[in-house]
Symmetry: C2
Subunit: 152 residues, 2 copies
DNA sequence: CAGTTAAGGTTACAACATATCATCAACGCG
DNA sequence: CGCGTTGATGATATGTTGTAACCTTAACTG
């Protein structure tokens, strides 16, 4: 495997790996959780928790409070099903739930699309740099704002 | 100059370079701007715009609305006097206003302290990675959450 | 002087996030 | 069965972060 890779999973396959990953962690895959994951996974761009709340409310024909959405998104983030995009205060489905990386996201300032790339070498360099100064890195945040190929 | 460096400026010196950088950009260094810069520069941790508003209000004995603070912080960020820490929704003074880098910040989840490091090689690798996919990088965001040496 | 610009004030509102307590279903067990 | 426990979600309130719209003032310009 090269240090740089790129991978995707769509629709049912992604849903299934997400469910498997969550259940492997001893958590339940409930209807509510499935609905929230579906909404996040349907988007190529990061979605805000409030957007998720609106969409899930529509899908279920019943108001779902942001509060409940945050609870579940936090659970997803903790279990690597979803990643938080710090520079957008928003969330995006992890295209490879079982597999843990210090992910790098390229976020288009024009269309909002986020591309997920992993480069373990860069991530390791960042962690090493932090360690050199006596800092114990827990979670590198590497996001690149710019313009995607389509919007260029 | 090594690719990795680390530098600081304090008190009057920092204030002076900030002023010089802003004026070189054709902007004014007003009392309000000086007061806001002073508040941000006095902290080793990222401060929220609302914290700045409170502190500046105290310092001037007159309420300053967050709105005004945001206006000026945005100007500072645009001119590289202050950096925004995306993962904290907060701001920190740039320790080297004249000098442009893709800065890397190490933010302690325990005490909140942020350390500013520059490593042009890592930053360049991140930009190159983005470019390889056809993405035009404008602004890499590289922040590391973790625990500082003091809190360890 | 009138016209223009830049800085900042005032008010209102929108977007993002958390805290607290209540409800309900599922499960284990005497 | 009745009962206590746990985990998931609901309801409501509140806190924090960020923007929009419009106004006032001071300075500079012709
Ligand atoms: Zn991967
Ligand atoms: Zn785009
Ligand atoms: Zn530097
Ligand atoms: Zn610390």
């Amino acid at each position: 495997m090269s240090a740089i890779h790129h991978h995707h999973q769509h629709g049912v396959a992604l849903h299934d790996s997400a469910r498997a990953a969550l259940e492997a962690a001893g958590e339940q895959w409930t209807d509510m959780r499935a609905a929230i994951f579906a909404v996040v996974a349907a988007e190529e761009r990061p979605v805000s928790a409030y957007d998720v709340a609106d969409k899930v409310s529509q899908a279920r024909g019943k108001r779902v409070a942001p509060n409940s959405v945050y609870r579940i998104l936090d659970l997803f983030v903790a279990n690597n099903l979803v990643r938080r995009i710090e520079s957008a205060n928003a969330f995006i489905a992890n295209s490879h739930p079982g597999c843990v990386h210090d992910c790098i996201f390229l976020i288009c300032d024009s269309c909002g699309q986020a591309t997920h790339v992993d480069d373990d070498k860069i991530a390791q360099n960042v962690r090493n740099l932090a360690s050199q100064t006596g800092f114990a890195p827990a979670q590198p945040v590497i996001e690149v704002r710019g313009t995607c190929a389509d919007c260029d």
